[in-house]
């Protein structure tokens, strides 16, 4: 079912849905960006249409809604483990097709990898409905088309923002909220067909230990500063580390949390006792690259990277991940389709 709504009507629908759902969308936080007099655009809870920022790519991906940056796994009191209270409220997320495809990757890791499901992820995941922001033009550094992540069917509703709002509703649970608010139209979202940046993907059959040991990684040993920004803005980076804390001096209570971890950041591979496996920053670049465009596919049948380009947007050293993919492809040859 597709509808045309005025912006006011759409805003009313959001306010209405807000009673049942927490609604997350990219928002602009004025003046609180990294540099002075710059804004930060990232995910936050919204209560109305005008709060949603669609003109700029969110600097951080929506993964933090499903996989919080830090998340309490257990509370400890007198040595007993207690799970945190579960928030029943359902969730709506406004996000673009690349990010919806990114969720598929997160699902793969948290729900499909190994026998156990990650219960904390699963509980959030089950509550989420996707409101797809139609994305026709993309942004700088986007290469979703090359990654085959420009399209998706996995949305509850698709939205074209404009002076009037066009909405395709797939999820029947949402029909009530929308149907009286607009007029029926024919609308199906359009997906971006060409980005400003294109990558050629490597033939992963040809990736060998020689590829791992190639000189191309040495350049990154010099350039990368191991800040981890590329990991943290990435929609599909899913690594994390346990953190236990005691609240007070006498140690009677505390909690176990998990926090995002990044393979570029110091300490990622360090074991107790100090031995680490990737001290060299070039090795870290190689490790991340291979995960995104080689080994994840070997394991799961599709590439991890969705080409959102946030890593390129954020790198303070102007390391371009899309260029790196192209370098690997130049080395081993292009993927046979």
């Amino acid at each position: 079912m597709s509808l045309k709504l005025s912006r006011e009507a759409f805003d009313d629908v959001l306010k209405d849905l807000g009673k049942e759902y927490k609604i997350y969308a990219p928002i602009r936080i004025k003046g609180e960006g990294r540099f002075s007099d710059t804004d930060v655009v990232r995910y936050g809870e919204v209560s109305g249409l005008d709060e949603i920022e669609i003109h700029e790519k969110a600097h951080f991906s929506p993964k933090e809604i499903l996989f919080p940056i830090t998340q309490t796994l257990f509370y400890f009191t007198e040595g007993e483990y207690q799970e945190p209270k579960y928030d029943e409220k359902k969730i709506i997320v406004f996000l673009r097709p690349c990010d919806i495809n990114g969720v598929t990757r997160l699902d793969q890791v948290f729900l499909e990898n190994g026998e156990d499901k990650d219960i904390y992820y699963e509980r959030l995941r089950e509550k989420v409905k996707f409101f797809m922001i139609e994305c026709i033009e993309g942004f700088d550094n986007c290469f979703c088309v090359s990654m085959d992540a420009n399209k998706t069917e996995k949305y509850a509703a698709a939205i074209r923002f404009g002076d009037d709002m066009l909405v395709e509703i797939k999820d029947e649970a949402l029909i009530n909220a929308f149907q009286e608010k607009g007029e029926f139209v024919n609308f199906e979202p359009t997906f971006i067909q060409e980005n400003l940046v294109n990558v050629k993907l490597p033939d992963i059959e040809q990736i060998t230990t020689e590829t791992f040991e190639d000189d191309m990684w040495k350049e990154y040993a010099q350039r990368c500063i191991a800040c981890g920004r590329c990991n943290f803005v990435c929609m599909t980076c899913s690594c994390w580390t346990m953190q236990d804390i005691a609240y007070d001096e006498n140690n009677s209570s505390g909690e176990r949390r998990r926090a995002w971890a990044g393979c570029h950041v110091d300490g990622f591979t360090d074991m107790a006792g100090g031995h680490g496996f990737r001290k060299n920053y070039g090795d870290r670049m190689r490790f991340k690259t291979m995960h995104k465009i080689n080994d994840f596919k070997k394991r799961n049948g599709y590439h991890m990277c969705v080409g959102c380009g946030r890593c390129d947007d954020v790198c303070p050293e102007y390391i371009s991940f899309s260029s790196c993919i192209n370098k690997v492809t130049k080395l081993v040859g292009e993927e046979r389709k």
């Binding site: 007099d37 800040c227 943290f232």
Partner: protein, 332 residues
């Protein structure tokens, strides 16, 4: 040749070592100007000067080799510069074709600021222009500079008033993954105001300079900027032949309005306390404060100033530097 040197000095010309030749100083408030003014500077230098221009430490241009009698013509030629770089900024000058009406209060200089520099915590040029508007034209000898962060690239510590940008970092613990990038950097490059506790960062406010490095380094956006602009004011730094010294902190975490107010108040203080016998009626503000005492200066400077809740004022300043003449403050 009959030249009233007092008059031409006030007009931003000077007596040079070459008999009959003067040099003109063009002010560039905030150190930033549209390139169109280069055409005028070039024309003046070629037509009346020696075809060269000196870039001054205060971010002005000095045009040497000018004949004294060409001053009126040159003043008319530079009218568009005075229009664009003074009047348009809100500075009041009655006779736009008469050249600069004063030279005592020097050009307000600025580092490149947040138009370009990632470290800068504010638009230094904009603030310099606001200060220029508040204090120029004025004969009193006051030097002011604006710098974006405590790196102090403009050398605000060498001024009578140095304005250093500060930012209040806001910490969102739930976004912090405990990577320690900010803590390590603060320890290495700044004051070590940050430490880890239970995988989260604690900031010691008294140690924090408000430089904003933690915000720059944070990979997850756990540190954010308070969009409110804050400034540290360092005062009475100087070079010179008596007692060169770095400026010391007078105020911290104050707002723009406070800065303008304390600077304008300072002019009242100067009128009250300047050595009336001073040679050429000229005495640097720093020496006046030395004589009158910091507490008297402070009282004048803070008159009618409403400080914000975060503001801090130095109770006492122990100026350092060194004295060329040991008995400088004693009369034999």
């Amino acid at each position: 040749m009959d030249i009233n040197t007092k008059k031409i000095k006030k007009n931003a010309y000077r007596v040079t070592k070459v008999r009959g030749k003067t040099a003109l100083r063009i002010r560039v408030p905030g150190g930033h100007l549209d390139v169109k003014y280069f055409d005028i500077i070039k024309e003046v230098a070629e037509k009346y000067g020696d075809g060269s221009v000196h870039m001054t430490i205060r971010q002005g241009f000095e045009l040497p080799g000018i004949d004294f009698d060409k001053i009126p013509e040159i003043n008319r030629m530079i009218a568009p510069i005075i229009q664009g770089l003074e009047l348009d900024y809100g500075v009041s000058i009655d006779d736009i074709e008469g050249g600069y009406p004063a030279a005592g209060t020097r050009n307000v200089s600025a580092c490149i600021g947040n138009n370009v520099c990632p470290f800068a915590n504010y638009n230094t040029t904009d603030l310099a222009i606001k200060i220029e508007k508040a204090i120029f034209p004025n004969d009193r000898h006051v030097k002011i500079a604006c710098t974006g962060c405590p790196n102090d690239c403009i050398k605000a510590h060498m001024q009578d008033f140095g304005i250093i940008g500060q930012v209040e970092p806001i910490y969102e613990a739930s976004r912090c993954v405990g990577c320690e990038a900010c803590v390590k950097n603060c320890k290495k490059r700044v004051t070590g105001a940050l430490r880890m506790e239970n995988y989260k960062v604690k900031r010691e406010e008294d140690r924090c300079l408000g430089c904003g490095e933690c915000i720059l380094k944070c990979p997850t956006g756990a540190w954010r900027r308070n969009p409110e602009k804050y400034y540290r004011v360092v005062i009475m730094g100087r070079t010179g032949k008596k007692n060169p010294r770095l400026a010391e902190t007078f105020l911290e975490w104050v707002d723009e309005e406070t800065i303008i107010k304390i600077i304008t108040n300072t002019y009242t203080f100067i009128e009250e306390y300047i050595d009336k016998e001073a040679p050429l009626g000229k005495e640097h503000i720093g020496y006046i404060v030395d004589r009158a005492g910091y507490h008297v200066f402070k009282e004048y400077a803070l008159k009618d100033v409403v400080l914000g809740p975060k503001a801090q004022v130095a109770n006492h300043i122990d100026f350092g530097g060194y004295k060329y003449e040991r008995n400088i403050y004693f009369t034999k």
